[in-house]
């Protein structure tokens, strides 16, 4: 199915001039998603409401954009806002993690019978070099747990595109598991036994016409490539000074690794770490640690990409699946809140120094320029030169679009 999908999925007017221009625009585009799973609070990050009943104990500080303030927990980003685009008017539907993660990583709520691929799978398929040994879609997540996120990770990420567009998962000790050849097994032995395995399996697969057999066999085809680029995943090989700058936490180290991977040929890297942002208990105390780390990581990452001349081609997204309630619960935590929340974008295709949308005085609702998950995804795809409205008419599936409902990208946020 994936093959058919890929061919149907190509632009119809491939040889027309605009399409060629689009192709050029798409070259070398990359994306890093800093996935803030659990749902970060907008009040303690991009949309502070100091001195109000909802604002919490932290103040707001000036930024390098006159008139714009962010949480005092983000001193570094405050001096880098000219490089970012902040959306303060996110308003989405799902209130529970699983459904919200689904909607905010796939761009839409489920629509059976087909499964919409995750952002990384679409971008890997559209912009990636699929013959490259370097994995095009990488999920860096050292934490195998994470409540609903754990369940979500076990699901079908690549959807109708097919398993080959799913992520390579790494994390933990910052290395890929099982990349080293067993001791005493020569490279030739390793390759030739695989050739034999493939021969046996292929024969079986063809005779049976079995999908499980085919999928199982296909997974082996990427083993050699991944082994060859295992050193890329080795953080130890990166300069100590870099590692220090990103801080001791797993999230920072993985953000650094994400930079390293896109520098070396990955197309989409998603950085996650379980579900730390879900602070139903003691919100302020926890955020005192979480937000400064994010502040630094984002600052380092954007700075590095800029310094390397990669920022224009690399879209950086920092977001979770929803925001947090304006009010505190009995455990002094903030609960899930999809009605009015914020996120940050930077780099490729994004107009820097933009602050889009706003919430009311107490942050209870969006007061201007509502953005939902569809508009967000239309914006992300447009920023990368991917047609957000492409229509798909695949056998056995309802007609669907990359982004439904003709949702319009946010022009003000696009470069």
């Amino acid at each position: 199915m994936a093959m058919g999908a890929a061919s149907t999925g190509s632009f119809s007017g491939l040889f027309s001039v605009p399409a060629l221009a689009e192709e050029v625009q798409r070259q070398n585009k990359k994306c890093i998603l800093l996935w803030l799973c659990g749902g970060p609070s907008q009040f303690e990050t991009w949309d502070p409401k100091p001195g109000t009943s909802t604002g919490g104990p932290y103040g707001a500080i000036r930024t390098d954009i006159p008139g714009i303030r962010v949480s005092s927990l983000m001193p570094r980003c405050s001096q880098m806002l000219k490089d970012l685009a902040i959306i303060r008017s996110m308003k989405t539907g799902p209130t529970e993690h699983f459904q919200a993660i689904d909607a905010l990583t796939r761009g839409d709520t489920p629509r059976r019978p087909f499964t919409r691929p995750i952002l990384g799978s679409v971008i890997a398929q559209q912009l990636g070099q699929l013959d490259s040994p370097v994995p095009q879609f990488v999920l860096l997540d050292p934490c195998p747990e994470g409540n609903e996120f754990k369940g979500f990770k076990a699901g079908n990420w690549a959807g109708w595109l097919g398993a080959e567009y799913g992520p390579v998962r790494a994390g933990g000790k910052y290395r890929l598991p099982n990349v080293d050849r067993a001791e005493g097994l020569s490279e030739a032995d390793h390759e030739q036994r695989e050739a034999l395995r493939n021969f046996f399996s292929r024969k079986f697969e063809n005779e049976q016409r079995g999908e499980a057999a085919a999928g199982f066999n296909a997974a082996f085809h990427r083993v050699k490539g991944l082994m060859s680029c295992a050193p890329l995943f080795d953080l130890e090989k990166l300069p100590a000074a870099d590692r220090e700058r990103y801080g001791p936490g797993a999230y920072g180290q993985h953000a650094l690794l994400a930079r390293h991977l896109v520098e070396n040929g990955s197309t989409f890297v998603m950085v996650a770490n379980g579900m730390p942002w879900d602070c139903h208990v003691l919100n302020h105390e926890t955020y005192q640690m979480l937000v400064p780390e994010l502040d630094n990581v984002l600052f380092q990452l954007i700075g590095d990409l800029k310094e390397r001349g990669m920022l224009d081609d690399t879209l950086v997204i920092a977001m979770g699946e929803f925001g947090r309630t304006p009010w505190l619960n009995e455990a002094r935590g903030r609960d899930h809140y999809p009605n009015a929340w914020s996120l940050a974008l930077a780099g490729g295709g994004i107009r820097p120094g933009t602050v889009y949308g706003a919430t009311d005085e107490l942050g209870i609702d969006v007061s201007e320029n509502v953005v939902d998950n569809r508009r967000l995804f239309a914006t992300l795809f447009s920023a990368l030169g991917i047609n957000p409205h492409q229509e798909f008419d695949l056998p056995g599936l309802p007609t669907f679009h990359r982004v439904e409902e003709d949702a319009q990208p946010i022009r003000e946020v696009l470069a």
């Binding site: 993690h97 629509r111 059976r112 409540n147 398993a163 799913g166 390579v168 890929l176 598991p177 099982n178 990349v179 080293d180 067993a182 097994l185 032995d189 390793h190 030739q192 036994r193 695989e194 034999l196 395995r197 021969f199 046996f200 399996s201 024969k203 079986f204 697969e205 005779e207 049976q208 016409r209 079995g210 499980a212 057999a213 085919a214 999928g215 199982f216 296909a218 997974a219 082996f220 990427r222 083993v223 991944l226 082994m227 139903h280 309630t325 304006p326 009010w327 619960n329 009995e330 609960d335 899930h336 009605n339 209870i364 609702d365 056998p395 056995g396 599936l397 309802p398 007609t399 669907f400």
Partner: protein, 650 residues
């Protein structure tokens, strides 16, 4: 994060921003329109049936315009999906079929529409509603009540083949059958001797004989117990597996299958968790391992016992299968809410309090409801709700029973559950029938196997019903059912898909069944060491964590799994350490030549002869490495046990 206490839900911060006024009994059909029907029509129908295009003069963009209908009249007859044109035309046999161009709404989407129309009050359209019609058309032929189950399966499955007019695979050869039945019933490939003995037999009923032999073996009971452990408890870490062994949980399941205990009794023991004799001690572990997490317990009982997934009903009635209501979710939690893990001299037990557990849950509109003792398909169990705070009193409990056992409340919610909800609940049989069918046939009569609800109609409704009744009528004995399934014609078909577009729900060929971790490692150990149990330790645990699935909804393979098989230490080591005289490597080396080796290996691993091409490849591989014969064999063995032919039961 899961919200563990229903009381917390009531005050959930999210709802505070909304208006909390209690609406006058909202129309359920209107709610469903907004949340489910409109999005469905929008994405599937509105390309043509919109305000401007109005194909067939039908506009499906608003509730009002939908009810207005089109050129052919009203689209909807309130309360009666089967008389509603909109519903008729989206059926598989609808003419003209909608949506056009070969598109078909899924079963789930059809269920949404039917459910919505059924819930619609007559005021929504001009027509009066009559009582809901029986959903199933009357069958042309009903199997006799006391028929032979295998015969009934064959007739009912054949009837659908005939209707579909699609090619059906031929009968599986003895080679194929012997490998398949060993893998399915005892979780390993047959030994060369077992295979040969079967193939050489000249009896016409030799398949029946083999099935009975395997079904009565301890190996069968132990394998089935391991599969049910995963289905009931999920995968665990090594500590959890050790506990399941130590506390007698594994033994409890093994004994249940070895003695072919009535399944309703087994489930009752697990949920009541009050072992009557010491041999049953492990029955408490289903509840105990969940460590007083009562929502987790309820969410585990749903699929394990009733074949239902109920998580969706935590915050609202199930959106697709609205018969599963929010009160059922919280009711099921309430039945187990008073339980508490205790460690006694007799082992782990679940005590039960006589008081407490009266809570409220809140629906999406913010209205609170008491968590009555009620579960799907059964009347509410009456229990008086105290007005104020309760005080416990020894009088609330029965006089002490067995020594060291927790005291039992006079009004025991768990006892009520097993007596008044579980006993004779029709889903207990259905869940077991569907699960065993899925395990043996590669797909449930209801798919996925643990969603037996109105949104997932069975592929063979009459057969499903008949088998469930038959299972009940014959004392809930798993063995009789398993026997009937594996002796059926459909089970014994060839595994080659007869046509590219064959529908797996017709069971017209033997579907692919990826081996569970236990069967795969047992087969590797059987092949390499002639000893299926020789896989304890790192081989089994690494396969369990890399291949956790049992009956997955989608059979997906991951790159990380291929990496594990290619480079993981445990498999590599198991192969290289299989060097004893009785192990395969040595036995192959003792054979006169390479072609004898390849032949023997194919018979042992795949239960067939290699074809000439395979033989050439295999012999060539060994010849190239004549100076290192042992290593050559190991490389070859790796290629065999990681091949898709080995990995998939077919």
């Amino acid at each position: 994060m899961l919200v563990f206490l229903p009381v917390l839900l009531t005050g959930s911060g999210l709802l505070r921003g909304d208006d909390q006024e209690k609406r006058s009994t909202p129309d359920p059909a209107e709610g469903i329109w907004r949340t489910h029907v409109e999005p469905l029509l929008k994405s599937n129908c509105r390309k043509c049936h919109n305000g401007t295009k109005k194909s067939g003069q039908l506009d499906l963009s608003t509730l009002a315009s939908t009810l207005e209908g089109g050129k052919k009249g009203p689209a909807i007859v309130a309360g009666e999906p089967d008389r509603s044109l909109l519903f008729q035309l989206v059926q598989k046999e609808g003419r003209p079929h909608m949506p056009p161009a070969g598109k078909q709404l899924s079963e789930e989407q059809l269920a949404i529409l039917a459910n919505w129309i059924r819930k619609m009050k007559p005021s929504h359209s001009g027509e009066r509603s009559s009582p809901p019609p029986t959903p199933e058309p009357s069958p042309t032929w009903l199997p006799p009540e006391n028929g032979d189950p295998t015969t009934v399966i064959d007739l009912m499955i054949q009837a659908r083949w005939k209707k579909a007019e699609l090619p059906v695979a031929s009968r599986a050869s003895d080679d194929q059958f012997v490998r398949r039945i060993y893998l399915d019933l005892v979780g390993r490939i047959p030994t060369l001797a077992e295979r040969q003995q079967f193939i050489e037999q000249r009896l016409s009923d030799k398949r029946v004989k083999l099935v009975d032999l395997l079904l009565n073996s301890e190996e069968h009971a132990n394998y089935l117990a391991s599969v049910f452990d995963t289905l009931f408890m999920g995968r665990g870490d090594e500590g959890q597996y050790a506990n399941r062994q130590k506390t007698g949980w594994n033994g409890f399941l093994q004994k249940a299958f070895l003695e072919d205990r009535p399944w309703d009794q087994v489930v009752r023991d697990i949920l009541l968790a009050r072992p009557r004799e010491n041999g049953q001690s492990g029955s408490t572990w289903f509840l105990y391992e969940r460590n007083n997490k009562h929502q987790e317990i309820a969410e585990a009982i749903g699929p394990a016992v009733f074949g239902l997934r109920i998580e969706c009903a935590q915050c609202h009635d199930h959106p697709l299968a609205s018969e599963i209501e929010q009160r059922h979710y919280w009711g099921l939690v309430a039945f187990f809410r008073r339980g508490k893990n205790v460690n006694t001299q007799n082992g782990p037990r679940i005590s039960e309090s006589a008081i407490g557990g009266f809570e409220e849950f809140s629906d999406l509109s913010g209205t609170s409801h008491p968590n009555f003792l009620v579960f799907f398909g059964r009347e509410k169990v009456n229990e008086s709700r105290p007005a104020g705070k309760q005080k416990d009193d020894p009088k609330n409990y029965l006089a002490a029973g067995k020594e060291h056992e927790p005291k039992i409340p006079r009004f025991s919610r768990r006892q009520k559950f097993v007596d008044e909800v579980l006993a004779r609940h029709p889903l207990v049989a259905r869940a077991m029938v569907n699960r065993l069918w899925a395990l043996l046939m590669g797909r449930g009569l209801v798919h996925p196997f643990d969603k037996i609800d109105s949104a997932h109609p069975p592929s063979h409704p009459i057969l499903f019903e008949w088998l469930s009744r038959d299972f009940e009528a014959h004392g809930y004995r798993p063995r009789r059912l398993i026997r009937a399934l594996v002796l059926s014609q459909a089970y014994q078909l060839d595994s080659r898909k007869p046509a590219p577009d064959s529908d797996p729900a017709l069971f017209s060929w033997s579907l692919e069944k990826p081996l569970v971790a236990e069967a795969w490692t047992r087969s590797i150990a059987q092949l390499l060491r002639n000893q299926p149990a020789a896989n304890q330790g790192s081989l089994l645990s690494s396969f369990r964590s890399n291949f956790p699935d049992v009956l997955p909804e989608e059979k997906i393979s991951r790159l990380s799994q291929a990496m594990f098989l290619s480079n993981g230490e445990s498999l590599q080591r198991f192969i290289s350490e299989s060097g004893a005289p009785q192990h395969l490597r040595k036995q192959l080396l003792a054979l006169p030549d390479h072609s004898a080796r390849i032949n023997q290996l194919y018979r042992a691993a795949f239960s067939r002869q290699p074809d000439p091409e395979e033989l050439t490849q295999g012999v060539g591989f060994l010849e190239q490495r004549s100076n290192q014969p042992e290593r050559a064999i190991d490389l070859l063995l790796w290629a065999i046990v990681t091949s898709s032919e080995f990995r998939i039961n077919h």
